[in-house]
Symmetry: C2
Subunit: 260 residues, 2 copies
Amino acid sequence: MSDGTDTSRPEVPRAGGVQSLARAFGLLETLAEAGGEAGLSELADRTGLAPATIHRLVRTLVDLGYLRQLPSRRYTLGPKLVGLGETAARQFGRWATPVLTDLVAEIGETANLAVLDGDRAVYVAQVPSPHQMRMFTEIGRRVPVHCTGVGKALLSALPPADAAGIVARTGLPAVTPTTITDPEVFARELAVARERGYVLDEGEQETGVRCVAAPVTGPHGSAAVSVSGPLSRMDDAAVARIAPLVVAAGRRLGTLLATA
Amino acid sequence: MSDGTDTSRPEVPRAGGVQSLARAFGLLETLAEAGGEAGLSELADRTGLAPATIHRLVRTLVDLGYLRQLPSRRYTLGPKLVGLGETAARQFGRWATPVLTDLVAEIGETANLAVLDGDRAVYVAQVPSPHQMRMFTEIGRRVPVHCTGVGKALLSALPPADAAGIVARTGLPAVTPTTITDPEVFARELAVARERGYVLDEGEQETGVRCVAAPVTGPHGSAAVSVSGPLSRMDDAAVARIAPLVVAAGRRLGTLLATA
DNA sequence: CCCTACATTCCATGATGCGGAAGCGCCAGT
DNA sequence: ACTGGCGCTTCCGCATCATGGAATGTAGGG
């Protein structure tokens, strides 16, 4: 950075405006990816930043309560992040939960809301089915887009070029025997989804779980609703009954999103 | 900092090193306090920062995915915060949940883990009692220290001077008829807690709920475990049986905290 | 239709964050 | 116990980067 001849900056393609912020959040993410705990030098290795720089950022975060320093001098995500995340989730849940609750009442299976986060989908709200008490709070969980109902629904609402870009970056790794791994088949799947307004997930992420998902139709709305349940209850007749309800819920959430 | 005559800055006592970071997180907190949604000028009013400054910070956060801009141009907490918060909670929960689960198995009442966050306590892990399905995920909730079992347990593990400092700042507002409001009585309560190794919460935050809490004994360990249930089940005999178990759990968590 | 209020962009200024290098404390090795 | 090495922390001069006042664009209200 000291000579004016080469101003190319291959790292951090387009972070944002304030670099210290981008770096700090990068550190938080790096820490999360590292399993929620890391030493300073490990962070330096992963991010390529100077130790002194990292130390200052990290120290600030510790002072603010968003990071904790363990007795071993390593760093962990701090308690305040839990609070913020909870508030954020509540925020999403506030307007989505009523609609999801209706869906569960009509269908009897677990209903989810997810949004696009980079190249993956994050669950931001969930209303569990009355059938099985399973599934803790899956809220906040990030899943691949290519093998989940919500993921495919999210892609189907994107401009095809953007969707193709995401798929190109993430690839189509097989998770179960039914996961779609052929790009051409996947493209057709999205085309069908756009046509019908909903997608199916035929146990592509978890065997035995069938899922109906629809995009949340809004202006900027990168969101998707889904209803999922075990194959035993989700037969073809059930899907035929469920699909229109999920699509309607997506539309309803879209108008809510635009309004509030 | 613009004029040399008056450098007193009553606001933001000691933020941290990197000011843009402190401000950005301040904005996130302000947004959370405002109900999770606010316009730019509202943020400007609440924080006292220049609109241009806020806009740049906020725009960066939007680019990074930690904030979302609604069609109405207002701002909301973004999906990535949900993910980070969940990871942070999982991080705490990972090593705590097994111990809490054992506690619930032995006692049959809800078990919690909380840490000190500034002058308040935050719940970071919880295993619900099999009895009542009540209580959603209370994780992330911040509560006062003076009227909760975990709060008093946290204070009892602190150097008395530090505990007194916190109490001096927060005061002892009455929340229920049994809340301790006399500083001298409260100091004695903490002394007893240090002596016995556990504290009771006699419906001091919510009438009818009795709670046994113990500090997590670690090197720097500002954490506390608690078990709480309705008075009907938490009689004196139950408390006598429960207290040693909670203390033991605190000790166990302490060694885990020091190790991993 | 104009007008007010809000969000957004521009730009010169200097405060502020940056990172190389030196200092310390902790384990591991012998 | 001594020593070496590694990783965390602190210092300090330089210039980059964030800052905020003012100008511009945009939406809703009278």
